[in-house]
């Protein structure tokens, strides 16, 4: 019999969950999303999305992981055996993300060292794309490994392996008890430095000045829901796995609320820090803030290094910024890989040490393609498809099944024709209600029927709009103008392949009984 591991402390679990949620996107995606979608007014749809989708799903995943005490495939199998493949689908999504996410963290690790002597020079764009990444001219021109990226990836995979190898308490929990405080201290130092720079107030003003007309724009609401969905690490096996390690009496609802709120709070502080620096950069260059605003990879590896060049004690600030990216990225990387390891441990009954080693080795070799000179193109395509057609669709299926089809008991045992037909009576037929009863029975903060309503109606509608909107958009035109065959091989075929593999996995492996 296999004895399931547990978190040592509640703090350890919350830090791990927060560490999973807080990642690179909190620093380089949220600030631009807010700026580009109404500034301060964006917070209205953002918080509405948090309340109606983010928090409901995170509590759902915490609840089912805690109740069924298994990795994601095992959890779905325990609910309805024939849906185990949905759990594997989410695990494969996590695996694919891990093999390119490690490369981005490697970039941050390299830039952390480059910051010591501002090695990126004045032409930060040319340096990043031509000197550092040595980018080729097409996704298929992937001859040549970029050695600094490979070296960084080896380090990141090694750290990840060490944490996974050491287990839940001595590995994952301990790592997050180190990384999360470091990350928050770094953010606060950078925040203080940023807001005291010349021009910072102007930069922050650009982020938060509200354009309330944006609330009438449908695109802003989809942007808000998309940001909430992707920022919380939901619907790709992580939160179910992490909560499966919780002891019997755990305040699920409070933990879920804390994780979601701290994650979003971090994004806001990161946004203030980033726009403070951009405000200073605009002053130094004699341009407007809107001329220097950027997001994503461009913000982190082109714009911020350029801004850092203008700062007093620039090496120190640059080092701290990229160290923060590494910490944020590593804590997320650990959670992504643990989702996969946990599923394999549960399914094949092998020891954690063997699984962690094999997983890290296979993961490293799969990552190699992203370390080539066309790595950025392939990463961009894979990231787009795995997020928009992997996570979003898996999330849509998960929520619809939980809220509309899965039941905790057979229908005949639940439905009593003598009882008056009320919403609550009908709702008790579905699994979500049994999960709500489960989490409320052990939590100080009780959640009401609004949670069921959100999961039944709001979340599926929003996810459905996102999912099919993306599908139509990508059928109409090639994503970012990439060659058709690049999108087929690294995008569509990848998405289909992981679904096929998920069905195959359902019928393989011996299932260990989990205590």
């Amino acid at each position: 019999m296999y004895q399931r591991e547990q978190w040592g402390t509640r703090l350890g679990f919350v830090l791990a969950a927060v560490g999973s949620a807080i990642g690179l996107g909190n620093i380089w995606r949220f600030p631009y999303m807010a700026y580009d979608n109404g500034g301060g007014a964006f917070l209205i749809p953002y918080f509405f999305a948090l309340l109606t989708a983010g928090i409901p799903i995170i509590i759902l995943e915490f609840g089912i992981g805690h109740k069924y005490k298994g990795s994601t495939p095992v959890t779905f199998s325990k609910i309805v055996q024939k849906w185990e493949w949905l759990g594997w689908w989410q695990v494969f999504i996590a695996f694919v993300i891990s093999i390119y996410y490690v490369v981005v963290i490697s970039w941050a690790l390299n830039y952390m060292l480059l910051a010591l002597n501002l090695g990126w020079g004045d032409s930060t764009k040319k340096f990043f794309f031509q000197d550092f990444l040595q980018i080729s001219s097409s996704p298929f021109e992937f001859v040549g490994i970029v050695w600094p990226v490979l070296a960084g990836s080896v380090v990141i995979w090694f750290v990840t392996w060490l944490v996974l190898y050491s287990g839940v308490k001595r590995g994952i929990e301990l790592a997050n008890k180190i990384f999360m405080p470091i990350l928050f201290v770094l953010l606060l130092i950078m925040l203080f430095r940023s807001v005291t720079l010349e021009g910072a107030t102007d930069g922050i003003q650009w982020l938060f000045r509200p354009d309330f007309s944006a609330i009438l724009n449908f695109k802003v609401w989809t942007a808000a829901y998309g940001q909430i969905f992707f920022t919380l690490s939901i619907c790709f096996a992580i939160m179910i796995t992490y909560s499966s390690y919780l002891p019997g009496k755990s305040d699920i609802n409070n933990n879920g609320l804390m994780t979601a709120l701290i994650n979003c709070g971090f994004s806001l502080l990161a946004g203030i820090m980033v726009f403070g620096v951009l405000g200073n950069m605009a002053v130094e260059q004699g341009v407007m803030v809107k001329d220097v605003v950027d997001s994503g990879v461009g913000l982190a590896f082109v714009t911020i290094p350029k801004a850092v060049n203008f700062l007093p004690a620039s090496s120190f600030f640059g080092f701290m910024f990229f160290l923060a990216l590494v910490c944020a990225g590593l804590s997320s990387m650990i959670s992504i890989t643990e989702a996969g390891c946990s599923a394999l441990i549960d399914s094949f009954g092998c020891s954690r040490k063997k699984i962690a080693s094999l997983f890290s080795l296979v993961g490293f070799f799969c990552s190699l393609v992203f370390m080539t000179r066309s790595g950025l193109y392939i990463l961009d395509i894979v990231d787009h498809f795995i997020n928009n057609f992997g996570i979003v669709f898996a999330g849509l299926v998960e929520v619809i099944l939980m809220a509309w089809f899965f039941r905790s008991e057979p229908f005949e045992e639940l439905f009593d024709p003598k009882k008056p037909l009320r919403w609550s009576t009908l709702e008790s037929l579905f699994l979500t209600e049994s999960i709500r009863e489960h989490t409320n029975s052990i939590s100080d903060i009780k959640i009401g029927m609004w949670w069921n309503f959100c999961l039944k109606f709001i979340t599926p509608i929003v996810l459905g709009v996102m999912a099919f909107g993306n599908l139509i958009g990508d059928f109409r035109e090639n994503y970012e103008g990439y060659p058709f065959w690049a999108l087929v091989i690294f995008g569509w075929l990848l998405v289909i392949l992981i679904i096929v593999l998920s069905v195959v996995m359902q019928h393989s492996g011996k299932k260990e009984k989990i205590l």
């Binding site: 938060f208 509200p210 701290i262 806001l268 100080d444």
Partner: protein, 33 residues
């Protein structure tokens, strides 16, 4: 900074960190019981 920007900034930080503080207070209150 404009009044609108300040209000949205305070609202954002209040909802997130204020909410997290409330959750933490509840957790610590029951921890000490």
């Amino acid at each position: 900074m404009t009044v609108g920007a300040i209000i949205m900034l305070i609202l954002g930080l209040g909802v997130t960190w204020g909410g997290a503080a409330v959750c933490l207070t509840i957790a610590l209150r029951n921890y000490s019981k």
